[in-house]
Each structure stands twice: as structure tokens, then as C-alpha cells.
Amino acid sequence: MKTHLLTYATFLAALICIFPSLLQAQNSSIGSQVNGNFQMDAQYYRVDSAIGALPVPEKMQMNSWTNITYTSGDFNAGLRYETYLNPVNGYDPRYKGTGIPYWFVDYKTGKFQITAGHIYEQFGGGAIFRTYEEHNLGYDNALNGIRVKFTPAKGVELKGIYGTQRYFWDKGPGIVRGADADFNLKDWIPSLENSKLRVRIGGSFVSKYQADEEIYNSSQEKLMLPLNVAAGAGRIDLGYGNFGLNAEYAQKINDPNATNNFIYKKGESLLLTATYNQKGLGIILQAKRLDNMGFKSKRTETGNVLDIGYLPAITKQQTYTLAAVYPYATQPNNEMGMEAQVNYKIAKNTFLGGKYGTDIAVNFSAINSIVKELVNDTTLLDESGTLGYKSPFFKVGDTKYFRDFNIEIGHKFTKSFKLLFTYMYEEYNTAIIEGHIDDTVLVHANILVAEMTYKLSPEKALRLETQALLTQQDEGNWVMALLEYTVAPKWFVSVADQWNCGNEDTEKRFHYPLAAVAYNNDANRIQLSYGKQREGIVCVGGVCRNVPASNGFTLTITTSF
């Protein structure tokens, strides 16, 4: 701990010494700049035993982030101050505290770029390495260490990283090392320069080291753990005119960990994407297979922290409230799926397009399990301390995780009236995605959303959202309406109500009203809302937590400069 503080102090001292000279350089031709942002979310809670909003001893809870970045020519430094006193409802309680968990210095010299401190980086699609931060989701797996980027020639980039990852206010126990190479052949091969063909290839390698520890298989047996776990990935991006094809394959050697029940099978992932694009029409087809790819820099970790790799969702992210009631969460160890999406614009001044054109988006996704077969007759499926299972690569498993078919039509009828209509059919496996099992494992839901915007004047607009979620399972039917009045660019007022009108238990047919007012002044925004938030469940890596319902005020301030 002492040495840790010392390095920290030395770093800060160095920064302070550098700063005045850098500030003086501000008037010079290279130019320097400081920018930053600030966000605060404060919630005041009231007890509401009906919906399950428990008393909060602090009454108020608050999260806040402040970023400051300084840039001067090829030099770059920044930090983020965070405070959670205490973390607002829904955040991991281990964030409680105040401090500077993120800082970095970065400079470019010739073909090199060096970064020291906390690093956000992604290799290719991120399958074996991605560090990122999404504070509204309470996620940050920044790498604390160094990064070197080397660009020997145009179209070639080599990257190396070395460090440990953020674990709330601490660091994870595993050391992560990795390298990535990326080649854009267009910049390399002269004959490709004016051709319609685009080729980009890349490869990466990541290794994690974690010291040995005692993991018992039974009271008499303990596991022989690999201290170094390596993963490799290769990718290719092909394009020809309007067509695009992309593939990324990754493999990881034996990595017994808490999310896979300590099995020794290797992990594999594949993501294939094909696209077609022309103005007014975009088509995408994606297929994905994930097999035992949970990769964290701490063996015993089960929570939403310390991920080394990132496995993107191929299902459509829904933002309408009721459409997002059953959101799919990627299952890194066991999933096979596909997605198809077509975006089409019916041109304006046509029969269907009308005066302003019509936007249509159709999306379908299906996610199942992979097939798991017994390794031998004496081993159970997923038994710890064994190879766990065998899985034929191209076979799709029987367990249905998720289905989503949705169609979205947007049409502007007149200069001042616009309608956006969404229909969605969804099947959602609560057992797999939420980790709780009821008699009905699969929720079937139909969701309808109509959004109408009426422009009263160039500045003033009225927006009405009506939504319905129809299902026989879980909590039954929900309806929602939202009315919003904006006076651009400064004022915004909205009222909404969600009603669980179809709950089988008639005493649980609650209303969840929400009212908000916001004032916007350039990049500064202050929003005050009052309302009730429904209870939710978050499951990651075999650990589930309940986000209690809440009833109260929320004050949000965001600024940036």
C-alpha cells in the first residue's frame, strides 16, 4: 500500500511540475486545451412498502463524476474524480467512497504513442480484450498500466498493453498482458488503392497471470490451476463496393473459473457479419457462437467486473421503457445466435413515402444454447475439475434463450406531425437470463409502441408515447403513457405513468408515475424528477441481485466545457 501511494504521489508531483510550463505554452502555435465534464445524480428516497421501496437510512444517495483532460500538442493528460456517498439504488455497494480512480498521461513521438496510467483500449471487436467505462451502468474495467502504440508504416498499427484492472476502489489480482497487430492492405498494396476491394486483417494475443490459490474440488481434492491463461484472436474485414463481410474468431486455453464452474475446456467464440449498403437501404446479417469465453482477471469473481474480453450483443437494444422490460444479456459461456436487420427508407414524393418519406426497420434475432455432450460416462456435465463437456461447433442447442422480432415504421405526415410506430414480439428465458425459475420459464410478450410528435412552433413540441406490453406470464400486462412538452432549446417537462394492469395478483396492480422537468443551457443540464421505479433483477455470471423498487426525487446535473 505504501509503495502504491508513493508511485501515485511521484506521478502527481511530476504532473504538477510539468503543468506550469505546459500552460505557458498555451499561446504558442501548437495550442493547448483543457476540457472536462461533470455529472451528479442525487436521489432522495421515500418508503413505499406497497411496491417494495425499503427505507434508506441515508435518505439521500449520490453518485458523481468529474473528468478533466488537458491537451497540448502531442501531450495529453487527464483524470476523473468520482464520489459515491453512498451509491444510488441499483449500483454495486462496493463503489462506496471517494477518490481519483482514473488518471493518465499520453504523448506521441514520431511513430510511437505511449500511455501510462489508466487505459481504455480495444483489440479488434474486443473478443479477448476491451477495457471501457460506462458510468451510467456502473461499469469500469480500466487497465492500470502502460500502453505502447507503434505505427511503422501507413496502414499498419501495433499495440501492446500491460497492467491490472480496476476493481471498484482497488485493483484486480490478475496481470493482463497483450498485443495487437492491424493491417489495412489498401494502404499497403498499391494495386488495391483504387479498387473497390477493401481488405483489413488483424490479430491479437492476451495472457493473464494470477498467482495460485486454493480451490477445493471436494474436501480431499484441490484443483491444479493454470497460472497463465492465454487467448488469441484473428479477424478479417472484407469489403467490395456495397458489400461487407467481417469475421472474428477467438480461442482461449483452459481457464477454470467461477463463471464456468472450474472446468478445463478451452473457450471459443466466433462472430460473422455480412452487410449490404446503399443509400436508403441497409441490410445486416450476423451469426455468433460463444463457448466458455468468460474471461476475467480474477478466477473467483462472478460479478460484472474485471472482464478482459467483451462479447457484443447482437440483439437490438430497445430504448422504449416497456420494450426494454425484458432485455437480453449476453451469456459469455454458452450461446449461439443470429440477427438480421433491414433498414429501408421509402423515398419521399412516392405513394408510400408521402411528402417526407417513410423509415422502416425490421429486425429479427434468435439466441439459443450451444449443445453440450458428456465428456465420458463417469463425468457429469459441467463438473468442476474435468473438461466439463464437448460441444459440436455447428450444432445449435435446444434451449431457447431469446427471440425478438420487431418492426419500426416512422412517417412524417405533415410538416408538424410525425408518428413512429413499433411492434415487437419477444420470447425471453427468465431462468437463463435472470437466473430465477418459475413454472413458466419462457415469457412470450407482444409490445406495441406509438410515438407521436406534434410541432407547435419551431421551438415548441408536444410528444406522446403510448406503450403496451401484453403477456400471460411473469407480471402480466403493462401499459404506459408519456407526455412531453419541450420549449427548445431550454425547457423540457414530462409526465408518465406505467401501470401493471394485468398482474394476476390484483393487489399488485401498481402505478409507477414519473414526472420530470429539465433546464438546458448550452452544455449544462439540470433535471429534477419525481417518481416510482419498479423492482428489477440483475444477473451476471451465476450471481443475481435484486435492485429494489424506489420512490423519490432524482436530481441530475450534467455540464461539460
Binding site: 490459490e213 474436501s219 464452474n261 462472478t302 422537468v517
Partner: protein, 309 residues
Amino acid sequence: MIKITILKSILIIAASVLVLASCDKIDAPYIVPNTDPIEPEDTAACPVPKFPAVTAHYKRALIEDYTGHTCVNCPRAALITHDLKDKYQDSLVVVAVHAGFYAKPSTSDSVWAYDFRTPAGTEWDNFFKVGAVGNPNGMVSRKGYPNNQQVLSPPSWANAVKNTVSEAPLMDLQLITEYDSAKDKLCIHSKISFLQAFTERTLKISVIITEDSIIQAQKNNDVTVGTTPSILNYVHTHVMRGAVNGIWGTPVLLIPENSSFAPVVTTFQTHFTNFNLNTMVPKNCHVIAFVFDAETKEVLQVAEVQVVE
């Protein structure tokens, strides 16, 4: 323009109200009896027995497994505690604390209607934020609380137990119980013998009762543990049934540290009735006592005995 200013003021006032509203107005009476039940030593009801001399001094670890009957991933965690208990025997004490969302009894389905929650377990879960991190999770001797690192995932319990039992014990803790089945009365006697010099700190002792061999349904998603999605005749073990001396125990009377070290011995006794009322089976029950630092909450020593030998 004036309108905007008014609206702006309203927003600022509303924001201030939000801050000002975060206060607790306390009305008289300002002094209430301390709820920590410091019972007078009723030596007549429970005569103090003679404790055997302590021969082997070693530190024992306490695993608190926060769990619930509707938590599908919890049976696997329970299995880990069984393996550890087999390995460490008397050096390890296990408590299954049913608390939080997944321990809530179902109002609609009678299979899931039973309730293992206890006021103390619920309070601990809220205080240590175990359920807020997620189930299954737990603590080993409540270590790490001052740094907000007390919540440990089940696979990491083994290492934490190994480290804890290898520490030098600050004290020894002995427990003697006498159960009178006719009166359904249990006398619990504990004795703390300090083994090394220590800087002055506030210590407390908590006494709880756990019960084994309760057969009730448990949700499960692990085929290596049992049937899925439910094990209808699941054998629950180490189920915490209640705290005998309050949620946060009672203070251990301490003589301030002397310059020349002499072991300080302190005894504590309590009694507990109502086994039948609480539908517990005495022969399946254990009494667990643990001494902890009132500030850091770290459990320094723990002991466990059966209610009926």
C-alpha cells in the same frame, strides 16, 4: 423572460428542498433504553459450570453463506461450505443466513411459502450489503469490512478460510450448553481467555442458533448438485434460526490492557427457551458464539457446540 426566471427559481428551490428534506427530526423522548440485552447473570437458573482447561489454542474461521430458497445458484455454494467443513472440521464454523430478496417467502405457492429469515440475518445482510452485491455470496470472519471488501464469492471462501485459520488466535472461546427438555430451556455459557497482549479495543460477543437437517424445497440450476429447477426435498444445513443476544451481540467486559500482560478471562451466560415455539428440533441445533471487534466487525474467534450432545 420573467417566466423563465420564475421556473428557474422553482427548480433551484426544489433542489434545495431535496437536500433539506434529508434530515431526521427527533421528538422527545430523546433517551430510550439500550436495546442491547445485557441480562443479569441468572446463576440460579443457570449455574456456571466448570470449564475444562484449554490445551490447544487455534483460531477458528466463520463462514456466513448468505442464501435463499429461491436462489438457483445457492445450492452449489452450500456444497462448497460442506467441502470446507469436511476439510477443516472444528476449525471452521458455517452459518447459512437466509436473507434478502431470494429468501422472501412466496405468497402464492405453498412450496415456497416457508420463511427462514431472521431479524438479525436481515439486518446483517443490509449492513454488510451481501445481497446487494448478489446471491450467493458471503463473508469469512467478516474480514475486509472497513475497506468495503467483506463480500466474497463462494469460490474464494477456501483461500480466506485457509488464511484465517493460520492466524495466531487473540483469545480462546469456550462454549458449554445445558438443555433441559422438560422446561424447554437452554443455558449457554461462554468463556473468553485472552492469549496475547492487545491494544484496547471494544469487543462484543454474539450468540446465535443454527439448525441442520431441515427438509424444504430449494431452487437449483446445477445438475451436479441435484434436480433442476427445484429440489423438493432439499436438506438445508447450518440454517441460522435466530440471534440469542440481539442483532449486534452484547459487549464483552474488558479490563484495560496492563503494562505487564496477564490473560484476562471473561465469562458470559444467557438462556434461551421456546425451541418448541420456534418449531426447532433441539437435537439438530447448534449454538454458535463469536467474538468480534465492534468497530471493524472482524470476527476474532468463534465456537460451536451442539445443543444436545
